[in-house]
Every structure is written in C-alpha cells, then in structure tokens.
Amino acid sequence: MGEINNNQAIDAGHQNRNRKDTLYCLFIMMILLISGTAIGFVFRTVEFPETNIVLVYLLAVLLTARMTHGYIFGFLACVIATGAFNFFFAEPYLAFSVEASNYIVTFVVMTITALITSTLTSYGKQKTIEANKREAETKALYSLTHRLSGAADMDDIASIAISTISDIMSTQAACLCFDEHGMPMSTFIQQVSSEKQIRRDYTDTPDIKCQIQKINTGYIKGVEFYDWPIYGSETILGIIRIPKERAETMNESQMRLLKTMIESIALAMDRYWSINHRIRTNEEIMRERYRGNLLRAISHDLRTPLSGIIGTAEMLMHMIQRNDTLYSLAEDIYKEALWLHSLVENILNLTRLQDGKLVISKDMEAVEEVVGSAVGHILRRYPEREIEVSVPDEFLMVPMDAKLIEQVLINLLENAVKHTLPEQEISVSVTEDKRNDCVVFTVADRGEGIDPVDLPNIFQMFYTSNLKHADSHYGIGLGLAICDAIIKAHGGSIVARNRTDGQGAMVIFKLPMEMNQNELL
C-alpha cells in the first residue's frame, strides 16, 4: 500500500511543479515586456527614433525565450510585444492600427527571432538535462559496480543490487537468487525503506525457470512484481523484481538503465560463483592429498607389523612338521601376510607416484638385468613355477627407473602366477621395435584369460573383477593400476588383452628408447 501512496505523491508533486513553472514563466515574460514598454516611453520622451524602441522589444522577446521553457512564451511575448508597440508607440497612440504595413515587417522579424531563440535555448536545455541524466546513470552504475566488487557473497550482492536499484528508481526492488544448480532459492530480499531490507518467502512462481525460457520482452509480468532475469555466462543467476506499479510507469531510458544495472549484477554474481568454484576445487585437491597422505601413513604403519607376521608365520612353519594340518594353517598366514605386504608396498608406491613425490630417475639400464631380477624375485617366492624368458641377443640399454620397471614386471608376473595353474606356462619376452624406437615387454600366460567385460577397466585403481573369483580377495586392480602409473610416467604405454594363439592373457608395455630432450639435462 505504501508504495501506491508514494507514487501518487510523486505524480501530485509533478503536476504541482509544472503549474508553478508556468506561472513563473508568465511572470518573467510580463516583467520583461513591461520593462521594455517602460524603456520605450523613456525613449519617446527623449525623442529617440522608433527603431530603438523596436530593438528594446526585440531584446525583451529574446530574453523571454531564453529564460522560459518551450516555444510558447517566446511566441506569446512576440505577439504581445508587437501589439504593445503598435498600441503605445505607433500612431495613433493608445490604439491598434493595421494601416501601417511597415509594422508587419517588424512583427514578422520579431516573431522569427523569438522562435529561433527559443528553439536554440530549448535545444541547449534539453541537451543539458540529458547530459545530467546520463551522468547520474553513469554515477549510479559506477557506484553499483564499485559496491558490488566488495561483496562477500550472493546475499551481499543481492542486497547491494536492490538498494542501488531502489535508490535510482525510487521504488522497493527485490532480488531472488538462484543456487549453484540454477534453482531458485526459497526466499528473496526486498528493500522496504532506504535503511531496511526484509527477507520474504518466494512462493509466487514455482515454474519460474520455464517462464524465463519463454519470455521475449526481457521480463515477466507477475502479480506483485515484474521480474527481470539475471543471465550469467552459463545459467540464470537470479531475478530482479520491480514492484508492478513502478515497472508499469518506467520509460525507455529507465528500462535501459535497469538492464545495464542487471548486467553488472550478473557480472558480479558470475565472478562470485567462479571464485566459489575455484575454492571448492582447491578444497577437493587438498582433500585428495589428505586422503593420499592418510593412505600412505596407514600403509607405512602396516608394513612393520606385517613383516613381523610374515616372520612369525615362517617360524611356526619351521616348528611344525610338514604333514601336520597346522602347517598348512601357518602357511596360509604366511602367504596371506606376504600378499598383504606386497599390496601395502604397492599402495605406498602408488600414493607417491600420484603425489609426484616418487621422482622417476631414469638411467640407461640393461633390459636383461631388470627382467632377470624381476623373474628371479618371483622364482624365489614361487619356486615351483617355471617362467620362460626371452630377450634379444643384442644387448639393449633403455632409459628407465630400473627399480620401478622391476616392480611393474613383478606385479605382472605375480598376477600371472595367481591366475594360472602351476603347470600352465608363463612367459616374459622383450623385443625391440626399431620402427617406433621403443622396447616392447610382454608378459603372457596360459591361464583362463581376462574377461572381456573387465578389459577396459583393468588398469583402474581398486578395480576388481566381480564376475570371477567372487570369493577371492586377490584384487587385480591395484597391481595393474601402479603398472599403468609407472609406465605412463616413463612416457610409455601399456595394454592388456587376451592371447590370439589360444587361451591366456597378455600384458604388453612399451618404453621409449630415447630420452626426451628435457630428460637429458
């Protein structure tokens, strides 16, 4: 209700001002003409020629046109001045005469002069008003942008926006913000007086988003408000609500100003969301790092007791006769602990790799030595297994971090051992691919092969085939994930597939023969 009264008051004020203005102009015109006439009488008394009196009247008309608004008073002054000259100073005195045609010329000249003058003055005045208005708009926009740049959050932005808009439009603007998913929030803020803002429940338009998509006028006509959407670079960030009564009386330039203001509000909101997004991303990175550290700390602490368990289990195995049932139990503990230990080592390496802390220090290494060492490691652990090894006769040196590539081979061979029966063949072969300037390592087995469903995910961390070995906890995931990470860090590639020459799986990885230019340093 308050705003309606307010609007009426504004209108009443307008009319009042207009009337006063008119009276003021009339008054000015009368004074000038009376003064002109008085001077005319003085001139006649001292017997100046009539032309001088005409010039005085012309001056009065000119001043009238300059000091009043519009053309009307200038024209009126011109008519009155001509009449007055005719009446007071042209014979017969104190009577209108139409005989003297030379007065017609005077009259026409005076009229034209008055018209041109008032046109020029009005034009100049109009320009000044426009310039003032533009300056006010620029100021308003500047102050809006300035204040928005200091806003801390969305509510702050909304609050600044509505207080500025309300100020300029002399209304009670409101703002409804949308959340990060582009959905309207449940409340909106409205400026109710120059000092006070209130929060109101937003219930008017449940399907505001659909409506916004349909609009073509730039705003939505509502019951209480007209709503202007704030378009961000990607989504709609909110709406600016102008009370209906005020919105209906807005003129073209006010509309334009509002749009410009909404654009700078959109910029501020966009900036807020993008900063917010960046902070969130940083937080996520921190969380990820924290998780890695935790994983590493746990793995590190697990390692020592595991060594103890492995040792103790081995002690037990020594104390018990081989045919005793207890022996197989102790052996199980031993094997499981051994497996767990290698898992822990893998996790440690993986977290270090992902963290960038495990620095790959490439040296020229003999391929056969690394392969030999890895195979030796596996054969020591699984003495009953046979592993076929073939390397080129030619002595091959490849840049690599030998310890890590050994780890890759150990992981691959361990997988092969796990997924094959003791009599099934496992082989490691190395060939040189001269055309692509790389060395190709192949670890192949004659086991059951890899399920085609698993193939695409096999190098993902913690991926474990859930189709087969549902009862087994021997994840294949981590071992291969670390292989993938190590080979990629070497600038190589790794693939897994099933053999084409019969059953079995094979993992092939390639390492470049040449160091990169920046690695040579």
Partner: protein
C-alpha cells in the same frame, strides 16, 4: 647345542622382527645378543666380543649409516643391514660405507642364515689371507694360478677385463658387490657416474657363462644396488 661360536648382535627396534631373527639364529645354533637402539648397540659393541652385526637401518635414535661409519673406524666385522623395500639408496650407501650385505624386509629365515654364513665365510677368508687357487661355483670354475675359466669342464675364452670381473666375483662368492665398488676395483678410478660400461661388460660376460642372460644362474642383478655371484 651351539653349532657356531660366533656371537651375533641383533640391532632391531621392532620386537616382533627381533624375536623372529633371534628364533632363526637360535634354531641354527648361533649365540646372539640384542639391542633396540643405536646407543645400546654401540655400548654392546665395545663391551662384548661381537663377531657379526645385524643392523636395522631405521633405528629411532641414531642413523644406521653413522653406526656403520663408527664401527668401520676400528673393526672389519661383518655387518648385514636390514631395510625396508623403499630404502634402496640407503642400502647402496650402507654397502659403500662398508656394510657386507643387506636384507630387505620381509625376508625368510633361510635368506637370513644364508647371508650370515656368506658374510662369516668371507670374513674368515680375508683373515686367512689366502684365496684358494681354484674356486668352483656350480659348473663355473676359476683357476687363479693359470688365469683360466672353465664352464662345465670346458675352457671358456674370456677377455682380460672379463677375467678381472669374474675373479672379483669369485673372491666374493655370495656377497653383493655394489656397482661403485666393482667400477673401482676393475678400472681403478671412481667411475660411479658411468655405469654403462660395466653393464656392457656384464652383458658380454653373461652371454658367455649363462644359458639365458635374462635368467642368470651365476651372476644375478640386484637392481639399484649391484651384482652378486650366487653359490647355491
């Protein structure tokens, strides 16, 4: 029930691993004493007649390297270091400082005892100042007097450099030799930055003595550390 007269000091801060090591030593008939800190170890070393030291590299108080350095100032006793898997650099450094061998956790008791025996044997050989004229490892035999190498009783043609390398291994059977040490022994200078020349020499030698150079029977590679002539 002691089969050995050697007195072994076990320095390990983790009680379970210490127990495990002690148990393994006990079943083999070694006499031993334990310490859980570096300080305790140094104290025991001066007060007891220790023959061999088993040293964990990750002690809470003193860096294992410091202990090795201190001992090497006055004693040539065999030192075997025990380390976690990610301490490769430290392992190599410990060996270069004068440690005789290393074990990576988790290790089996068989491994532990084998390393101890090799270290002791090697130590006594040094004391007995004379290397036997002929040493046989598997099918590989070296005759130091005639400067000849035999593989499966057939004479093997080796270059002078290969002979030098081979004789170095035969003088240290079962012991790990760091790359740095080998380079120094063969070429006389500190070649440590250029290991490629040794790799190439080793590859040539392996092609002569091994059936499959990538599955060596005699000289195995300890990645990141060095080589070892296996005697089993």
């Amino acid at each position: 029930m002691s089969y050995y007269n050697e007195y072994i000091l076990v320095v390990e801060d983790d009680i379970k691993i210490r127990n495990y090591i002690c148990y393994s030593l006990q079943t083999e008939g070694f006499r031993y004493i334990t310490a859980s800190t570096g300080q305790g170890a140094l104290k025991t070393l001066v007060s007891e007649p220790i023959d061999l030291l088993l040293l964990d590299l990750g002690l809470p108080d003193i860096d294992g390297m410091e202990i090795i350095k201190k001992i090497r100032e006055w004693s040539e006793m065999p030192i075997i270091v025990v380390s976690a898997r990610d301490q490769d650099k430290e392992k190599a450094a410990a060996l270069d400082l004068g440690a005789d061998d290393y074990l990576t956790k988790p290790f089996s008791s068989t491994e532990l005892l084998a390393r101890i025996r090799v270290a002791l044997r090697h130590f006594y050989k040094q004391g007995g100042n004379k290397t036997p004229a002929i040493i046989q490892v598997g099918g590989l035999r070296i005759d130091f007097e005639k400067r000849l190498v035999y593989l499966d009783d057939k004479e093997l043609h080796v270059t002078p450099l290969e002979y030098k390398l081979l004789s170095l291994f035969f003088k240290n059977v079962g012991k790990v030799l760091t790359t740095k040490y080998i380079l120094k022994e063969i070429w006389g200078i500190d070649y440590s930055s250029d290991t490629q020349v040794l790799r190439a020499l080793m590859a040539g030698l392996r092609r002569k003595i091994e059936k499959n150079p990538a599955k060596p029977r005699y000289i195995v590679t300890e990645v990141g550390v060095g080589y070892r002539l296996v005697d089993e």
